[in-house]
């Protein structure tokens, strides 16, 4: 039985037994290479689910939108390893109760999908540890290396050009599971901390503030860059911040559901002398 078939059966069982009220997974998109999020609530609909290497998006953001989990029922969700880390972070930041989440884990490499055993985040702690150990390996992307070799002036010019494309649509924020603030800083108007205009200042402010707000929280799922309508390589900024956080604080986001947020917690033996 293919993994897709296995997981369809699993989803069907979870729904028919009443263990979950919904399965969030992937379905075919409007063209053969596209996949879209699916929200299945009845066992017979599970045949619509697909699972292949084109299923890339991190779906965990849906768990924290519009009160999906507020009825205390359980939801099953197809997640890649980054998605599983996301659940840990959302639980650590008190945005969801991870007991309500049944994880249907999978990974893919070179067009092959592998099943990941487990259903709650603790089952994947070994996997996440190995991800942490492998971080230097996975960070060998061409463009990232190119930017690493630039001096500060060159980097500034590079990002200035990229940010000049930004149209302040905030798709990056909407697509990101970690951007769950009820009222985002850009939506505050007393005072208007960040301009909504897409001029140089406004674009820098937004993108840099978002990168800072994600430091130590981003799992590099890539939802942001895929959502960006003007193809800004956003994931690279967040990757850089993740690297910095690792180097400075030895912090890998999403290892377990009680991990304290690195920039939002204070210990007496922190190297800085003040909470800021």
């Amino acid at each position: 039985m293919s993994i897709e078939q296995q997981y369809r059966t699993k989803a069907k069982e979870l729904l028919s037994s009443g263990e979950v009220k919904m399965v969030i997974g992937y379905g075919p998109g409007s063209t053969p290479d596209r996949r879209r999020p699916l929200f299945i609530t009845t066992p017979d609909e599970t045949d619509r689910l697909v699972l292949d290497s084109a299923c890339i998006a991190n779906l965990s953001g849906y768990l924290v939108t519009e009160g999906l989990l507020s009825d205390e029922k359980r939801v099953a969700i197809f997640l890649r390893p980054e998605g599983i880390r996301t659940i840990n972070i959302l639980a650590a930041e008190a945005q969801l109760n991870s007991d309500q989440v049944v994880i249907i884990g999978f990974d893919s490499a070179k067009n092959e999908v592998t099943a990941l055993k487990g259903s709650s985040t603790e089952d994947f702690s070994v996997l996440i540890e190995s991800m942490r150990a492998n971080t230097p390996e996975t960070a060998k992307e061409e463009l990232f290396e190119k930017i690493e070799k630039m001096n500060p002036q060159e980097r500034f010019t590079f990002w200035q050009e990229e940010f000049s494309k930004c149209i302040k649509c905030y798709a990056c924020r909407q697509a990101c599971p970690m951007c769950y603030c009820r009222r985002c800083i850009v939506d505050s108007n007393q005072p208007q901390w960040i301009n909504t205009s897409a001029h140089t200042l406004g674009n820098f402010e937004w993108n840099i503030v978002r990168a800072f707000h994600l430091s130590g929280r981003c799992v590099e799922c890539g939802n942001c860059g895929r959502a960006c309508p003007v193809n800004i390589p956003l994931r690279l900024i967040n990757r850089k911040m993740a690297k910095e956080v690792m180097d400075l604080f030895d912090h890998f986001a999403g290892t377990n559901k009680t991990q304290e947020p690195v920039l939002a917690s204070f210990k007496k033996d922190d190297s800085e002398t003040f909470i800021l």
Partner: protein
């Protein structure tokens, strides 16, 4: 016999137009995205795209438009106006869906109060549209009763030749005629055949959709929640759409000096209709998706006799969760049977 503009003359044309005081703009690839931008020579243009990623509306309705500069003193407030930048422009290589998008928005920006920022730019721009010989899975102009060579909103229609060496020239408006007088001697009379315009299959029945949307009982249909479950309210569709025109007015500056600007906004944003009291008439994503569809295919045509959509397909092409207008209207077409 028709007038032909051969591609090897394009550089000369651009020179002529520039010498006549016109800025030449066209589709370009820049920084991993395709858009309409100023060009100095034909080699900068990319005329092989299905259509640029970013839409032509940015040339007429920029993301951020400074309107008024204010300086506040105790006894007086001094304001100076930002006028839209003036200067003749020729947009070479627009697509019919982009050009018609502009024509669709004209009555809105002129509804009783004329928005000079829009109209000054419109009056100073000549749109030279190139009919499409290819389309992708997301194009849907024909579903909106438009076409890959629809003249709506265009001043000149160029039809690519079969031998790919140039275009047949069709003058559509006085403005187009004027602009092409400048390059009249660079055109040649010839019998060269035009390539067939691509056939774009109709994807939904827009008339049936309009009927379904008008019925008051369908406003509260469960359909809206079902179809929009995956929408994340990202605003990409709005911002890339050639006809979307919602905006916000923001003052930027400090207590005594600043600029009042008009910035893009989107009805799919959660806080778009939020009252200061905390009441939000459209507090769920499905209510906002319904507003988007109703506005484009029911309210706008009710006032301005045209759907607020030109079928360019950017919304679906770009949507990170594979939404966009096509599927919703296909489902509504089915429901209206």
């Amino acid at each position: 016999m028709t007038k032909i503009l051969f591609t090897d003359k394009l550089d000369n044309c651009i020179e002529r137009w520039k010498s006549a005081g016109r800025t030449v703009i066209g589709p370009v690839q820049k920084n991993n995205i395709s858009t309409y931008d100023t060009v100095k020579s034909a080699s900068e243009l990319d005329l092989n795209l299905v259509l640029p990623d970013r839409s032509i509306k940015e040339l007429f309705f920029p993301q951020s438009e400074p309107m008024l500069r204010y300086t506040i003193k105790k006894e007086a407030i001094n304001t100076s106006e930002f006028l839209p930048p003036s200067g003749q422009r020729i947009i070479f290589g627009a697509r019919a869906c982009d050009a018609s998008g502009l024509a669709i928005d004209d009555p809105l920006f002129g509804w009783d109060y004329k928005d000079e920022y829009w109209f000054q730019r419109r009056n100073e721009s000549v749109i030279v549209t190139i009919a499409c010989t290819k389309a992708d899975d997301f194009c849907m102009c024909t579903s909106l009763k438009l076409a890959p060579d629809s003249p709506k909103g265009s001043d000149i229609m160029l039809r690519p030749l079969e031998n790919k060496k140039g275009w047949q020239v069709e003058e559509l408006t006085e403005r187009g005629r004027e602009a092409f007088k400048t390059i009249a001697d660079l055109l040649q009379e010839s019998n060269e055949a035009a390539a067939p315009t691509i056939t774009v299959p109709e994807k939904f029945d827009s008339t049936a959709c309009a009927e379904w949307l008008k019925k008051p009982e369908n406003f509260e249909s469960k359909f809206w929640k079902e179809i929009s479950l995956r929408c994340i309210g990202c605003g990409s569709c709005t911002y890339l759409c050639p006809t979307c025109h919602c905006f916000d007015i923001q003052d930027e500056g400090d207590t005594y000096n600043g600029i009042r600007r008009k910035n893009w906004d989107s009805c799919s944003f959660a806080l778009f209709t939020m009252h200061t009291s905390g009441h939000n008439p459209r507090s769920t994503q499905s209510a906002r998706w319904r507003q988007r569809i109703m506005h484009k295919f029911n309210y706008f045509p009710g006032k301005f006799s045209a759907n607020s959509c030109s079928g360019c397909g950017r919304c679906t092409r770009q949507c990170p969760v594979d939404m966009g207008i096509t599927e919703t209207l296909q489902e509504i077409s089915k429901l209206s049977q």
